[in-house]
Symmetry: C2
Subunit: 93 residues, 2 copies
Amino acid sequence: GLKPSRAGGAGPTQWRQTSAVVVVRAEAINPEIRKTEEKVVDSVVVSELSKPLTAYCRCWRSGTFPLCDGSHVKHNKATGDNVGPLLLKKPKE
Amino acid sequence: GLKPSRAGGAGPTQWRQTSAVVVVRAEAINPEIRKTEEKVVDSVVVSELSKPLTAYCRCWRSGTFPLCDGSHVKHNKATGDNVGPLLLKKPKE
Ligand code: FES
Ligand code: FES
């Protein structure tokens, strides 16, 4: 792309060619949750689930992680992403 | 920060002040999985889990999504991230 250059001092703005490089960077997806842990792994003993349906977060934005609190909606809207929770279903006995 | 500037031509390197701005960009965390779906939600009927331990992916890099295939290890190494799966445990009956 072209960028204004002021190297000429008091004269008119000069334009110099700069290179446009598209870098696909590997990025962390968890900005804040339990960053002191080397790897955030959670366990659910499925027999201990209390409700018929429990949503677990996969967007790493929930305020109640590992549970989903609906924060994926804001994340998807802000980024164009399409992530959502994992639903654990406990059929009625 | 300070950056070397060659604007002076043949003379010694001059240093000009540049601004350091930390931009926290909102980024999608799912690059490839089921992008035609508006929201990727998966359901597990916990009574149908066949193994004592099943790992579900939360890094959006698994080749066997929604299951974890260990791809979080490569993602964490490449990015410095600390994400890992959700483990569903089915106690022996
Ligand atoms: S809040 Fe993270 S998936 Fe819902
Ligand atoms: S492959 Fe995604 S959490 Fe393991």
